[in-house]
Amino acid sequence: MQDIKVVKTRPEPEKKIGKHIITVKVQHNFGVLARITGLFAGRGYNIESLTVGRTHEPNIARITIVVEGEERVVEQIIKQLRKLIETLKVRDITDLPHIERELALIKIHTENDRARDEIMRLVNIFRGKVVDVSQESYTVEITGDNDKIEAFIDLIRPFGIKEMARTGTLAMVRESAASKEGVLD
């Protein structure tokens, strides 16, 4: 067809990629977690971390999801989460003042006394705890935001990490800021 000579295009919104922290309050029915993870898997969205746990309210659980993605995709994820029948509240708290915490258990190889000393020093600086000791290892518990844990891992990596488990990020909006901005509805 040659009726249209001049090509016109819609202005495309620029693609912004970033990390988002999404908190979800759900009815704690069985299968609800599968619904949420299924939503990510089926659409090819990648989850960086996902944590679930009970809350003080009966039958209500809270999920914290960390995703990295394009703005439009993240927006779609949030809308899809809201669409689920069992979700009560979904918030992207990335840009709100918030607290982020993650717990990691790391079993570190202890070559010799020097290594033991050095590891202890790092654990103290990071305000971690040694929770188990054996001939060849320390098991360390450390909490903090993602950056802090990554930094710690980088520092102890040379000693040899035998095993590691992380909870994934938990997050909560800071009360003061929340009330100030009136976002706690």
């Binding site: 016109k8 495309e12 009560l88």
Partner: protein
């Protein structure tokens, strides 16, 4: 409140009665036998189909034609997995269904028991919601929630999986009230009203627009908003294009109608959208079959988008004025707002409508006629004539579906039924049966492909058994025609696996089921057989229309391309590569 004591299966029937169900479709098996035992005495119709997929499509066709919730029942394992395509079909087109499936007894779940399948897991992404009943105390509430979720907000299918032991268990129960159902779903609150500020903004854009187009989708049909769409179009004098799913939301014989847009849209609809300065999307979701290349869709238009589903808004295309709400409710408010400050609508549209008229005259919807060979489009036009334009049409998927969409002119909502979203071959005929059961006063035509029809042919038995006098027009081109067309256009005419070289004799096939079979092989016979078919009203009639084998559906915007690249006129096969010219 007085409590009754009943078997789980009887509770199921009681809730169905309380929901006003008049027909259920399905097929029994071990895990659902108790429910079937209860259905034996149910005060509503229970249609035994020959395949669960057909049962699901029948319930779907019933729902599309009536606006009520369709109900389908199947057994565990294979019965439930046979529902999958039907559920996905309904899910994609937002059709309210409740599917009830039997499950193995609770103590067998997770043991790979006979006919056990994780139906909740399988159907999770293709239902609006699903439930596994784990306690008989929850059964009445879950069933009521299922109906409520299916029909409110953006409608969709909901599945309830009931272990056999629960259907057998006897328990005290009471049917929860509407209030209790709502309160039990605190996370489910569809926004219906529409934001008044946004509605004002939309009205302002409409007043200022010089080249506006209404782009109306299935949401307008689902929300029963045809009247409001008509009022809005007439009030503001704005031309209307509908999607495949939106057909009937605006009468196609109205001068403001641009007919369908998109891949197989009319030249004038696509030109209008391409050149529009305002696009008012109503219950439509910017599907890729509509938009083509997204960056060139309505490239200069501001966009207003009215939709009940927030997730549909700005999903593929960023819109200027999103309005989340029920289409009917929002349109009522929008019309009121526009009426409060009217402008000279007639004068404002003069040049735009004149331009559109020129496009309509330049490339009307047409085809090469023949008096030697039956043209598929001619069959559709003749069906239109003999039914006075009043029949409900249900289509399969393929070329015949597009011709049914293009050459029958639809005038009321719920008149054209087809699998728009999933594109399910095998949908048309069973959906027609469901539609005819729901709307017995209407003539119902299944316009089917020779490939599509075969996919649920077994349910001719159901239509005969229940004396459902649907008409089935098979557009028999001996090909999986739509795939053949794509191969011709885009794969150098390499016809890989599309020739249906062995076929049943459709007339004898129909007769063997106890239906009437007719055939037309010459253009002169088309009207004759249709008139004959119209006279038969006690059983299904199948007409085998032997048509031009290599007719193509045109116009066509190749997948993912801009409207600029629309193919308008048929050319020789050898020129396939040059069929479309980049503007």
């Amino acid at each position: 409140m007085q409590m009754k004591k009943k078997r789980g299966a009887d509770i199921v029937v009681d809730v169905l009665v309380s929901e006003g169900v008049d027909t259920v479709f399905g097929l029994p098996g071990g895990a659902i036998m108790e429910v079937y035992d209860a259905l034996f005495d149910a005060p509503f119709r229970n249609v035994l189909t020959r395949h669960e997929q057909a049962a699901c499509h029948m319930a779907d066709g019933y729902a599309r034609a009536t606006g009520k919730v369709g109900v389908v029942i199947a057994t565990s394992g294979p019965g439930a997995t046979n529902l999958v395509t039907g559920l996905a079909t309904a899910y994609m087109d937002s059709i309210p269904l409740v599917a009830i499936t039997g499950q193995v007894p609770r103590h067998y779940i997770g043991t790979d028991a006979f006919q056990e399948a994780d139906v909740i897991g399988i159907t999770r992404p293709i239902t609006k919601h699903n439930f596994l009943v784990t306690d008989i105390k929850d059964l009445p509430l879950i069933l009521r929630q299922a109906f409520y979720i299916a029909k409110t907000g953006r409608p969709g299918p909901v599945l309830v999986d009931i272990p056999k032991d629960i259907t057998q268990q006897v328990s005290e129960y009471r049917i929860p009230t509407d209030e209790e159902v709502k309160e039990s779903l605190p996370g489910y609150n569809p926004h219906t009203e529409g934001n008044p500020v946004q509605i004002k903004k939309a009205a302002e854009l409409i007043r200022k627009a010089t080249k506006p187009v209404l782009y109306v989708g299935g949401g307008a049909v689902l929300s029963d908003a045809a009247e409001e769409v008509y009022k809005l179009a007439k009030l503001t004098n704005i031309p209307v294009t509908t999607t495949n799913m939106g057909k009937g939301a605006f009468p196609e014989n109205d001068p403001l109608s641009l007919h369908m847009l998109g891949m197989h849209g009319t030249y004038y609809a696509n030109m209008a959208v391409y050149n529009a300065d305002l696009l008012i999307a109503i219950g439509a979701r910017f599907d890729d079959r509509v938009t083509g290349k997204i960056t060139e869709f309505a490239p200069e238009a501001k966009i207003i988008h009215i939709d009940i589903d927030p997730a549909s808004i700005s999903k593929t295309i960023t819109v200027d004025v999103p309005i989340v709400g029920d289409v009917k409710t929002v349109l009522k408010k929008l019309i009121k707002e526009l009426e409060s400050k009217p402008v000279e609508w007639i004068a404002a549209r003069e040049s735009w409508l004149k331009q559109i008229q020129e496009w309509k005259e330049k490339h009307p919807l047409t085809y090469r006629k023949s008096d030697k060979i039956i043209k598929p489009q001619a069959v559709i036009e003749e069906i239109y004539n003999v039914t006075g334009g009043d029949a409900i049409i249900s289509a399969g998927v393929g070329q015949h579906q597009m011709w049914a969409a293009m050459f029958y002119k639809y005038s009321y909502p719920r008149q054209f039924l087809n699998s728009g979203g999933l594109g399910t071959m095998g949908f048309g005929f069973p959906a027609a049966v469901g539609a005819k059961i729901g709307r017995p006063e209407k003539t119902v035509f299944a316009i089917e492909g020779d490939g599509s029809f075969i996919m649920n042919v077994q349910d001719l038995a159901t239509a005969v058994q229940y004396r459902v006098p649907v008409k089935i027009a098979i557009i028999n081109n001996g090909f999986l025609g739509m795939v053949r067309q794509w191969q011709q256009f885009f794969y150098d005419s390499r016809y890989a696996s599309v020739c249906l070289s062995v076929q049943p004799d459709f007339v004898k096939l129909a007769e063997s089921f106890g239906a009437v079979g007719l055939r037309a092989t010459k253009p002169s016979e088309v009207r004759e057989v249709l008139v004959k078919a119209m006279e038969i009203n006690d059983r299904p009639v199948l007409i085998d229309f032997v048509v031009d084998r290599e007719e193509n559906v045109l116009p066509m915007v190749p997948a993912g391309k801009s409207y600029r690249e629309m193919i308008l006129t048929p050319k020789q096969k050898s020129e396939a590569e040059t069929m479309y010219l980049v503007g």
